[in-house]
C-alpha cells in the first residue's frame, strides 16, 4: 500500500498508521516500511534548472503571494510504502488483511506504537523491559513469549547484539528462569555488578564457570554417552577406535578406577591394533591437555548440582566463559555442557533451561543445530542464537525461529539471508533494518504478536565487558 505524506506530517520508517474507513466501520493497521519522494510530475525539470557554468547560480525569488511555498510543499511530498498488518474492527484487533479501505472516505493518522502495543496485548504477562519505541514510549515484552521458543539476535558488528542479549538474560533471570550462556568473549561475567563494580540486584544469581579454572569435572561425573559424544563429535575419533574406547571405559568403570591416570594406563596396556591405540592416545591427551578433566574431586564442580541449586533458588544464570579456551577445547567443553543439559532435562531434574549461544558456529557441531531446534526443544532447552554472521545460521533455523531481533545490517547478502525467516516479511526486514542506528532493533515474532516494532534498546546498569579493546585509546588520542 502506498500513501502520500506531506511535509510536516511526522512519519518515520517503522512507524504504524491507522487507516480508518468510517463507512466500512473498520480500520487497517499498516506499517511504514519505506519513505521515498513522491514522483511529482515535472520534478526532474525543476531539479535540472542548472546552468552550463561551473559556478553556483545564486538567486532570489520575488514571490509576494508566497506561491513558491506551495510549490516546494508539493516537491517535498513523500510516498510512504506500507505493509498491512491487521484490522481493527468491533473494538478488537484481527490479523485480517483481506480488505482495502476506501481511498475517498478513509482518514489516515499515525498509530503510536504505545497504542498498538496495548491493542495487541504485547505487554501482558511477565514483562522484560526492552527500552523505548520510536516515539520514546516504554516497551516491554512478555518473557512467556520467549519460553519454549527459538530466538535469533543478529546484526552487524557494533550494533548492540550482546547488549540486547544481556538484557534478555537479565529479564529472564529476574522472572526466575535458569539460563546458561555460552560466553565466547567473556562479556557476561559481570552482569551482577554495577558499572562502578558494586553488587547489583542480581548479585548471587550469576555463576561464572571458566573451563580449566573453576570449571573442571572428573570422569566419574561424566557419563559414557557424554564422553563418547566428545570423542566422536569434538575430537573426531573414528568408529573402530571409539568401540575400543567404550570397552576400556566400561572396564575401568567396573573396576572403580575411572580416572584420567588409569584411563591413560589402560589405553597403553589394551590389546588392540597399534593405529587404534594411537588414535585413542591422541584423543586422551587432548582431554588431558584441555585441563577440563581432573582426577581431583576437590577441584571438580558438580555442574548438575549447580544447575539444580540455581533452579531451586528462583533462577539464575550460569555463564560458561569460553574466552580463554582454545577452539578445540571449546568444542570439548560445549559438547560436555550440552550433553549434561540434555541428560538433566531428559530426567526432569530441571523443568527448562534458556540457552544463550554467542557465535555458536564456532563451537557447535553441524548436526547439533537441528537437534537444538527440533529435539532439544521438547526436552525444555530453549535456545537464543546471537551472531553477526547470519549466514552461519542454517536456513531451517531461521524458518523455525519464533522471535527474531534484527539490528542494523547493510550488506545485501546478509539482509537476504535474514529475510528468509518465516516470521519476517522480507520487504519489511530489508527496508527497515538497513537504516537502523546502533542500539535500535527491529523485533519480529511472537514477542510482538507479529507486529514488527522498532525498539531503542535501553542502557544496562551493569559492568559491561563487551567493548573492543583499542590500542590508540590508551594513548588518549
Amino acid at each position: 500500500m502506498q500513501i502520500l505524506s506531506f511535509p510536516g506530517e511526522d512519519v518515520e520508517k517503522g512507524g504504524y498508521l491507522l487507516i480508518e474507513d468510517k463507512k466500512a466501520e473498520k480500520a487497517m493497521i499498516a506499517q511504514v516500511i519505506d519513505i521515498q519522494f513522491a514522483t511529482v510530475p515535472g520534478i526532474m525539470e525543476e531539479l535540472l534548472r542548472s546552468p552550463n557554468i561551473e559556478d553556483y547560480v545564486a538567486g532570489e525569488d520575488a514571490d509576494p503571494l508566497n506561491v513558491m511555498s506551495h510549490i516546494l510543499y508539493i516537491q517535498d511530498t513523500r510516498l510512504l510504502v506500507c505493509k498491512i498488518y491487521g484490522t481493527v474492527a468491533e473494538g478488537g484487533l484481527r490479523q485480517e488483511n483481506s480488505w482495502l479501505p476506501s481511498r475517498t472516505y478513509s482518514t489516515i493518522r499515525g498509530l503510536p506504537t504505545e497504542s498498538l502495543i496495548r491493542l495487541a496485548g504485547i505487554t501482558k504477562g511477565l514483562p522484560i523491559d526492552l527500552g523505548t519505541t520510536q516515539e520514546s514510549s516504554p516497551i516491554t515484552i512478555d518473557a512467556c513469549e520467549l519460553d519454549g521458543k527459538l530466538n535469533i539476535i543478529t546484526g552487524k558488528k557494533g550494533t548492540g547484539k550482546s547488549h540486547l542479549s544481556k538484557l534478555l538474560v537479565l529479564g529472564l533471570v529476574e522472572h526466575g528462569a535458569t539460563v546458561v550462556v555460552l560466553d565466547l568473549n567473556g562479556e557476561y561475567t559481570n552482569l551482577d555488578l554495577t558499572p562502578e563494580g558494586n553488587r547489583n540486584e542480581f548479585y548471587g544469581k550469576f555463576h561464572v564457570l571458566s573451563p580449566s579454572k573453576n570449571f573442571k569435572i572428573t570422569l566419574y561425573q561424566t557419563d559414557l554417552n557424554v564422553i563418547m559424544r566428545i570423542l566422536t563429535y569434538a575430537l573426531d575419533l573414528p568408529g573402530t577406535s571409539a568401540r575400543e574406547f567404550r570397552h576400556i571405559w566400561r572396564f575401568l568403570e567396573e573396576k572403580g578406577m575411572l580416572t584420567l591416570h588409569e584411563l591413560g594406563e589402560a589405553i597403553k596396556r589394551w590389546q588392540c591394533n597399534q593405529h587404534v591405540r594411537d588414535a585413542m592416545f591422541s584423543r586422551y591427551y587432548a582431554l588431558v591437555h584441555s585441563n577440563f578433566f581432573t582426577d581431583n574431586m576437590a577441584e571438580s564442580i558438580d555442574f548438575e548440582g549447580l544447575l539444580r541449586r540455581t533452579d531451586e533458588n528462583g533462577g539464575g544464570a550460569i555463564i560458561i566463559d569460553l574466552s580463554n579456551t582454545s577452539p578445540a577445547d571449546r568444542q570439548v567443553v560445549v559438547e560436555c555442557v550440552l550433553a549434561k543439559l540434555q541428560e538433566i532435562l531428559s530426567q526432569w531434574k530441571i523443568r527448562a533451561i534458556f540457552l544463550f549461544a554467542e557465535e555458536a558456529h564456532l563451537y557447535l557441531r553441524e548436526t547439533y543445530w537441528d537437534d537444538v531446534v527440533t529435539r532439544m526443544r521438547h526436552f525444555g532447552l530453549f535456545a537464543t542464537f546471537i551472531t553477526n554472521q547470519p549466514n552461519t545460521i542454517h536456513e531451517n533455523i531461521y524458518r523455525q525461529a519464533d522471535n527474531i531481533f534484527l539490528l542494523n545490517f547493510v550488506n545485501e547478502h546478509d539482509l537476504e539471508i535474514v529475510s528468509r525467516a518465516a516470521r519476517v516479511d522480507a520487504e519489511t526486514a530489508i527496508s527497515i533494518v538497513r537504516d537502523l542506528p546502533p542500539y535500535y532493533c527491529l523485533v519480529l515474532g511472537k514477542v510482538v504478536k507479529d507486529f514488527p516494532i522498532v525498539v531503542k534498546i535501553k542502557p544496562l546498569n551493569i559492568k559491561t565487558m563487551g567493548q573492543t579493546r583499542c590500542f590508540f585509546e590508551q594513548k588518549g588520542i
Binding site: F37, V40, P41, G42, I43, E45, E46, L47, L48, R49, S50, P51, N52, I53, D55, Y56, V57, A58, G59, E60, D61, A62, D63, P64, L65, V67, M68, H70, I71, L72, Y73, I74, Q75, D76
Partner: protein
C-alpha cells in the same frame, strides 16, 4: 552528480549589479493586477488543467509576420565579429505563462518572470512571481489596460482564444519587466527574448519605444534574440543564409520599412547572427536608434563577455529556464489557488480524451 533534494534558494550575496527587488517596482503592480483579477474567483468551481497533458512550455508569440523579403532588402554586408572582453554586464529577461485551469467564466493563468545578470561570468537570477490571473471576457480589457495595453490602440480585444489571451498577458508582463530593467541597468547589454516588433497584441508600440528609450538613456544596448523567424528571402529562412558563413558574424537585412502595416512597427534593425562554429543562427533585432557601429560593438561585447551555448547567450537561456513552469509548479499553484481562494476543484471533462482515449492528441483551447 545531482542530488535529489529540496532546492536551496540561497540569499543573494551583494554584487553591485542586480538591483533590489523594491527598486524594480515590479511586483507591486503585478500583485495589484493579479489580486484584482482574482477578486471574483473565490468559492468558484475550478477545473485544473491535467498536468501531464498541459503543454509544458507554451512559447510566447513574437509577431505573426509572414514576410518574404524583397531582393533589394538584402545586404551583402556581412560583418565578421571580434569579441570585446571588457566586463560589460549582460542582463537577460524572459517571462513565461501557463494555463492553470478554468472557471465557469474564464481561465486562470500564471505568469512568472526571470531576470538573469551576468557580470564577469558570475551569474545571478531574480524570479518574479508566479502571479495568478483570472481572466474573463469581462475583466480582460481592464487587466490588459492596467498592464500597459492602450485600450485605444486599435488592437482587437474582442473574442480571442484562451491561448491568445494567455500569450497577450505574458507579453504585457514581459514588457513591464523589460521596462523596469531598462530603467535600472546601466552600461549593460540587455537581452530580450523575441523581436523588437511592436504593435502586435501584447507589444504596445508606446511601451516598447519607451523601454528602448529608457535603456538608451542609461547607456544600455538592447538586443532581442528570436529562436525562430518567419522572415524569408528568396524562399529561404533568413537564419539559413548566415549559416554558411564563418562565425562569428552578423548579416544585416537592410531597408525594411519601419512600419510593416498600419499597426505593426519594427523598432529594431534586423540581423541574422551566428556566434559560434557549431551553434545555431538566430534572428537578432537591435535597437534601431543605435548607430551601426554601436550595434556591432554591442554584439562584440556580448561575444566577449558571455558564455554561449549552441550560439545562444547563457544569460537568456537561464532566464528562460528559471521562468518556465514545470508540471510541479502547476500542481503547486493549483494547490495555492484551492487553499487561498477556496476554489472547488472539479474533474476536468476532457472531451478529446472521452472521445479518443489514448489517441487524444493536441491541445484543447
Amino acid at each position: 552528480m545531482l542530488v535529489i533534494q529540496q532546492l536551496h534558494y540561497g540569499a543573494t550575496s551583494r554584487y553591485n549589479f542586480p538591483p533590489d527587488v523594491e527598486e524594480l517596482e515590479l511586483p507591486e503592480k503585478l500583485v495589484e493586477v493579479s489580486l484584482g483579477s482574482m477578486l471574483n474567483v473565490k468559492g468558484r468551481h475550478f477545473q485544473p488543467c491535467e498536468v501531464e497533458f498541459a503543454p509544458p512550455f507554451p512559447e510566447k508569440s513574437t509577431t505573426d509576420e509572414l514576410l518574404d523579403l524583397p531582393v533589394k532588402s538584402f545586404s551583402t554586408l556581412l560583418t565578421p565579429l571580434k569579441p570585446i572582453q571588457d566586463g560589460t554586464p549582460i542582463v537577460g529577461i524572459d517571462v513565461s505563462s501557463i494555463r492553470i485551469g478554468e472557471t465557469e467564466s474564464g481561465i486562470i493563468c500564471a505568469v512568472r518572470g526571470a531576470v538573469v545578470w551576468n557580470e564577469k561570468r558570475h551569474y545571478k537570477f531574480l524570479r518574479i512571481g508566479p502571479f495568478p490571473f483570472h481572466i474573463t471576457e469581462e475583466n480582460k480589457t481592464r487587466i490588459f489596460s492596467e498592464l500597459g495595453q492602450n485600450p485605444s490602440s486599435g488592437l482587437s480585444l474582442g473574442i480571442s482564444t484562451p491561448t491568445e489571451t494567455q500569450r497577450r498577458l505574458c507579453n504585457l508582463v514581459e514588457k513591464r519587466v523589460q521596462t523596469s530593467i531598462s530603467g535600472t541597468a546601466s552600461k549593460s547589454i540587455i537581452l530580450w527574448d523575441g523581436s523588437l516588433t511592436a504593435g502586435v497584441p501584447g507589444n504596445p508600440v508606446n511601451t516598447v519605444s519607451q523601454s528602448l528609450a529608457l535603456a538608451r538613456r542609461n547607456l544600455n544596448s538592447v538586443l532581442a534574440f528570436s529562436k525562430s523567424t518567419t522572415l524569408r528571402f528568396l524562399g529561404w529562412r533568413i537564419t539559413e543564409i548566415v549559416s554558411s558563413h564563418e562565425p562569428p558574424c552578423l548579416l544585416e537585412i537592410e531597408d525594411l520599412p519601419l512600419s510593416v502595416s498600419k499597426t505593426v512597427h519594427l523598432l529594431g534593425k534586423i540581423y541574422t547572427v551566428k556566434l559560434t562554429p557549431n551553434g545555431c543562427s538566430f534572428r537578432l533585432d537591435i535597437d534601431r536608434s543605435l548607430r551601426q557601429e554601436q550595434a556591432i560593438v554591442a554584439v562584440e561585447k556580448l561575444l566577449g563577455n558571455e558564455i554561449l551555448f549552441q550560439g545562444y547567450p547563457e544569460t537568456l537561456r537561464l532566464a528562460h529556464i528559471y521562468s518556465t513552469f514545470t508540471a510541479n509548479d502547476v500542481l503547486g499553484i493549483q494547490s495555492f489557488l484551492a487553499l487561498e481562494y477556496g476554489l472547488k476543484l472539479i474533474t476536468r471533462h476532457n472531451i478529446r480524451r472521452t472521445l479518443f482515449g489514448p489517441y487524444a492528441t493536441g491541445i484543447e483551447d
